[in-house]
Symmetry: C2
């Protein structure tokens, strides 16, 4: 089910700048019945991205109305994807000053992850597709996702569950659709996202949960040498929750058997209602 | 006028991966009556990009049929934009193995460039928005254009005609919608495009024209220091042709009064029919 600007509709004008230039943002979130999970955090990220791109973000109420209409009658878990584009038109790349942003709400079935058994950890590869660095776009969930598309093709070809992406300096940034945490000496560490990557909502929740468990968390540059120090590794996003990593395939294959802190965090997030 | 997959139609499905991820390519070319200019070069770049992204490029005949239908009855100059997306669907970022690529052909009026008088040169700024580097995407004309959109907003705010874009190492790459050539000691030089930028069709034609005039051309890293050595500077693309630069606004403003080689190249390109 898709709503475009409040109307049930599965097409959009071909002059939309989301198509023409990737000029927009998106959010992917879990719906429980009609209730979007962690709405405030998703909306805050969308608003932050819109501010940085100079797009007027529609009010929360409009999104919530569309979500309610698109998910009417649903029960159980579904995925909601929100897309905000700058709208139609303009002379080439230049954003029109009178642009009318367009909002798209899509509801999909809850995904399955064939072969993934989170309790046993997932298998990831090191993607060869690099992430470009650009401080102007880092952190926000914009529509320029070709790097993730190409990396995901690598992952599918390798039959892996996810892939780690590195920048041109060989610094770990994130998974294609997840953030990454390392456990080193009992503390959590996760890549800085000031030059590439997306500030994930689940990443924020993990950091809060770690705080509540009195586990130290640092955001830092994560080289392959840092990665090699990790005793545990996990991925997270709003749909998968937390996936412990069992195995990294690649030039320097590694296996992990210790999921203890990951499981404590999953427990803490479940207790506070942040994870289903 | 817009054609989608051979049918006159101004909408496309909202699950198109061009919108969802910028998963596609485009070409912008000049139409003279019904005739696309430099068709072979535009098609070759599109095919190269499609190969690199793993998208099956529709045959030349299909594009030509769409172009003929969309431009039927037109005379004079128009702009044709071709968009090739990977099509609809797939599970998240992963490209579906059975994707049916979608082709979009849009015809627009020939643009005007208010205030631009190419014979007197144009005024450009140094954009503060950087270009990210990614060897996997460099050179091709893909749909991930947020950097150009944000830089174009800077240019519009400055009331300039175009803007120069630099990478994170302060190397000049290109304009937002043009390639850049410098004249140093009577020879041409233009930035290498192996980590960022688009291999422009007019760039190729300029390099051939320089050859025919026995003017040396090099592709190289262009720092601000290199830029400061240039006695002439010009921009080029398939629509504007060649624009000599009169003035660079920015931290180190520069003015250019010598357009001699630029004019010789324009003359040579006109003589061979490459420029209107």
């Amino acid at each position: 089910v898709t709503y475009v600007d409040g109307t049930k509709c599965a097409v959009l004008p071909s002059d939309d700048r989301g198509l023409q230039y990737g000029d927009g943002l998106f959010e992917t979130l879990a719906l429980s019945g009609q209730t979007p999970q962690h709405w405030a955090l998703h909306l805050a990220r969308l608003q932050d991205g819109a501010r940085r791109l100079g797009i007027a973000c529609p009010a929360s109420d409009l999104w919530r109305q569309d979500l309610a209409a698109a998910s009417a009658g649903l029960s159980g878990r579904h995925v909601a994807k929100l897309i905000l584009t700058r709208g139609s038109g303009g002379r080439g790349y230049t954003p029109p000053t009178d642009a009318r942003p367009r909002r798209i709400v899509q509801i999909s079935p809850w995904p399955t992850w064939p072969g993934v058994t989170p309790e046993h950890g997932v298998r990831v590869i090191e993607c060869s597709v690099p992430l470009g660095r650009n401080r102007v776009l880092a952190g926000i969930k914009h529509l320029n996702r070709l790097e993730q598309v190409l990396a995901s093709a690598e992952i599918a070809a390798a039959g892996a569950d996810e892939g780690l992406m590195f920048d041109d300096r060989a610094q770990l940034v994130e998974g294609t659709r997840s953030n990454v945490f390392l456990v080193i000496d009992g503390a959590l560490c996760t890549p800085r996202l000031d030059e590439a990557g997306v500030h994930g909502v689940m990443r924020t929740l993990v950091m809060k949960a770690a705080d509540s468990l009195s586990v130290a968390v640092s955001e830092q540059a994560v080289s392959r040498a840092t990665l090699a120090q990790a005793s545990e590794l996990f991925l997270c996003n709003s749909l998968i929750g937390l996936w412990p990593v069992r195995e990294i395939d690649g030039p320097a294959p590694r296996r992990y058997a210790d999921f203890a802190l990951t499981r404590r965090l999953i427990g803490a997030l479940r207790d506070e209602g942040s994870l289903a």
